[in-house]
Symmetry: D2
Subunit: 292 residues, 4 copies
């Protein structure tokens, strides 16, 4: 857990450069020389190699540079030229530009409210553009935050149509968040959606994947319960983990109490995962994540 | 941290008996015999002696018993008779009767919202009867929860009048909660208020008592920051501690980030302290607490 | 986690009474009256009902009473008389009498050393009577503590004989501890052994039961790794959990580092589980534990 | 908490470069270009600026490079040339060269044993060269690890001579560790000693600095107790903090139990601080530390 200074995260002249490539000598030297010559002041830099011998090298650089559109195009051209011979993949993102988020939710309010609240306080580095739900329970709550709410009911029979409807609603978003959305999204939906999706699962994965984790935690007699935020893949509860946390419980807690304790962990874990993702701090590598 | 089953906490026939007295043999036998004869089924029982030789003995019993008013009066008479020779102080509270809470707050919303939110979900075992603030910032937010909001400005000159005004507002409450209320209440106010007051302090007390704890935590270079919920006494930040928690931080976090991280700890710690108090789980002993 | 005062745990006049029975009114009253009449001073009392309606009621009482052998026999007779009509199962244990422990270990020293060290400091409330291993690596280390070491090699072919040899060695013990013993004990062995066995598993069960948990934790990309102490049953890593704990890790940690971090969690978790068991604080209920 | 892969830490060709200077653009570019030209493969790189505007910039680079003595001298010359115009302070350390540690201790064994134990397992990246104590209690224990033990008694009157004797004993060390050494070292001693000293204090500083922290923690009724490893300065318990941790306690724990729980935290916190220091991961900045 190593978040950056929030105050500086959204300064107008702040940029984030993310790179990945096969690990080889000279990458840092090439990129940092290029940025230095462009007049950038590097604010923070994180790097990680999955294996110095033949692994993948990931880097995230935050730098300050006053750039207008033309200037930015020029820097991107220089990056492209430098990246090509080293086969570096890169992405430049202006820190002042919030990620556009759509949230899917069912009946539980705690994860959704935590996100809406942090969004209103300006802590997410993101815009929550819409909320869609297969139930109407949270409609008024969402509207109270000034966020559009869409009711998209789902049954076993209507799932394909419901997914079509959702896809049509999502529009131009950067991230989909499943804040206790109790429906399994099809692989087809995920692919056509085209942006990462973050789910919160109410257990410490890989323990208790699937349904009713608190009931199963009680039956197994675990002494800690947890929550896991992960990127959604087609396989249920099996995607790359972004963040996890746990809380101590005892024999004296029944399932209702575990559920209530767990809700606090769920919302903290999901909020951290979304915040980090929106700060371009999370990079997926195979089935795990690098969190800078 | 050992909360009881929430589901059972508010059952109509559930009662809580709290006792304290000089430790001596036979207390448990006397009380449990009395309850057994009255037909009570003891659901949970916690006890603690500050010192088996000459200490104080505290006990909290939850029991189920269908009682109408007459039946209750009879049980209380029996308790009084049994308690007198052993010099036991006792209190009987029906679990179904929520504590009446007034909240004081200044400009920060996070602790107040956490309480309002849990209250609305029925998790506090309490009613939030009113919110008073020396600022108007949170007025609309509070009213959105259907809770009366009172604006009671305070300046150095008007403090006595402001405290009078607050006292007049509070009415018949069981608990006062200071959810980041940035004013020091006078000893006179606390005494006349006549109910316990719980404050949340944004540090791990006794470290950084007083003003600007996050700034001082940054300057001291601590690796964990915390929050403390405590009963208010006339001496600032020195009353009996109910609950504390911490979160790991690093050199890379500036004061704004510490403040943001700390806010999450503050609201969890305050919510736990209020919940436990309202479940009659917290007993003050000298300058510390027993939390059953 | 609610250990008692260690200083008082071993006082000569301290006794522990453990009871279990179908939950019904009057148990506490009956037992506490009996102890009061016997002149006992109750130091601590914990109780738990798995369900006030038709569950099992567990109670652990620590009391002080100067008793010689005759006096003890008399109290046990009274307990038997009181217990019979309520169908209460009970056990009386003098706190001054340490549990007799045998430890099985393979090559890893960390869990074994943690136990030996705490034993030497008098913190276990137990005697470590012998250590047996399928390897000779730790022989000198164990002997340095003045504890007998037995080398009992095991191969697939010799497992039955090895288990016979172990059974013959164990003698009159109260507890068997598997401190990273990398052999699966047969159901037959466990039954004939006749005392509880505590195992430490190097993962947060039920995640990563079985072999190579740290490798699998790395592959799954979890953000916390853990350890679990549990009673051994015939099914591998599936017995009642006594204690668990976790530590935060990141993408930058390789399997060797996870193993090293995990070792610290393993030894703390095992030490706590053994300490609590030896203080008669752990009661197995179905496939979980009550830890008073 | 972000330790590196232990397996790679001691590879023969691994080097650590630490730099600090006033923050200004171009530092990373200059250093990384130089290392790239020298043929180094950067394994990890951490950097931190206390303030992008006018702060101090710290960097730690681990790189692999096969270098003989002549080659190393050449690289150091290049570093000196590059560093001078940017006013960069730097230090190059071969990862394979363990730090030489002297440990001071009084009567408590837990912190000392934790260090000796990890040292014997090869986990400290250091050599424990000698142990000195003002008591003889731990002499045999230390000698059992094959480490020289020196008894240097101290009384109020003999403190200056005792410090002289200690200074003569220390010899050519890189680090002094105070593993529960219950004597205050003079500023004169610290200065003449000439190497950093790490102390473990048995509280969560700045709470309970000075004597008897567990007694004071009990009296204050805190719900968490902790330990702090910090660099020693002339002012008692006020030097830069390297690491801290806490454990949850309750009203039921007496001072003896707090002391026992705290001992586990103390040894973990001290072991982490010493391990990180010996991996050149800790940089002091004013009265705090940067831990990479």
């Amino acid at each position: 857990v190593n978040p950056q200074d929030t105050a500086t995260q959204t300064a107008p002249s702040l940029w984030r450069l993310l790179t990945s490539c096969a690990d080889r000598p000279g990458i840092v030297a090439a990129i940092s020389a290029l940025l230095h010559e462009a007049g950038a002041n590097i604010v923070s830099s994180d790097q990680y190699s999955t294996d110095p011998q033949g692994g993948t090298f990931y880097m995230r650089i935050e730098f300050r540079l006053e750039m207008d559109t033309a200037h930015r195009a020029q820097l991107e051209e220089q990056l492209a030229s430098a990246a090509a011979p080293l086969a570096v993949q890169w992405r430049l993102w202006p820190a002042r530009q919030p990620k556009r988020i759509a949230v899917l939710v069912s009946r539980s309010d705690h994860c959704l409210l935590e996100l809406l609240w942090r969004w209103r306080r300006g802590q997410l580095n993101a815009d929550i553009c819409l909320v869609a739900s297969n139930h109407r329970d949270l409609e008024r709550e969402v509207q109270g935050f000034g966020v559009p709410f869409h009711h998209v009911p789902v049954s076993r029979e209507t799932k394909p149509q419901a997914e079509e409807e959702l896809l049509a609603l999502l529009g131009d978003i950067d991230l989909l968040v499943l804040a206790r959305y109790m429906q399994i999204l099809s692989g087809d939906f995920l692919e056509r959606c085209g942006v990462p999706a973050i789910n919160i699962h109410h257990s410490f994965l890989p323990a208790f994947a699937g349904a009713n984790p608190y009931e199963r935690a009680k039956a197994r007699g675990v002494k800690l319960i947890g929550a896991t935020a992960h990127y959604v893949t087609e396989e249920l509860d099996a995607g790359p983990i972004i963040e996890q946390d746990v809380i101590r419980v005892s024999h004296s807690h029944d399932v209702a109490t575990l559920t209530q304790f767990g809700a606090d962990i769920e919302r903290m874990v999901l909020a951290r995962a979304v915040t980090w993702h929106c700060a371009d701090r999370v990079l997926a590598h195979e089935n795990s994540t690098i969190v800078f």
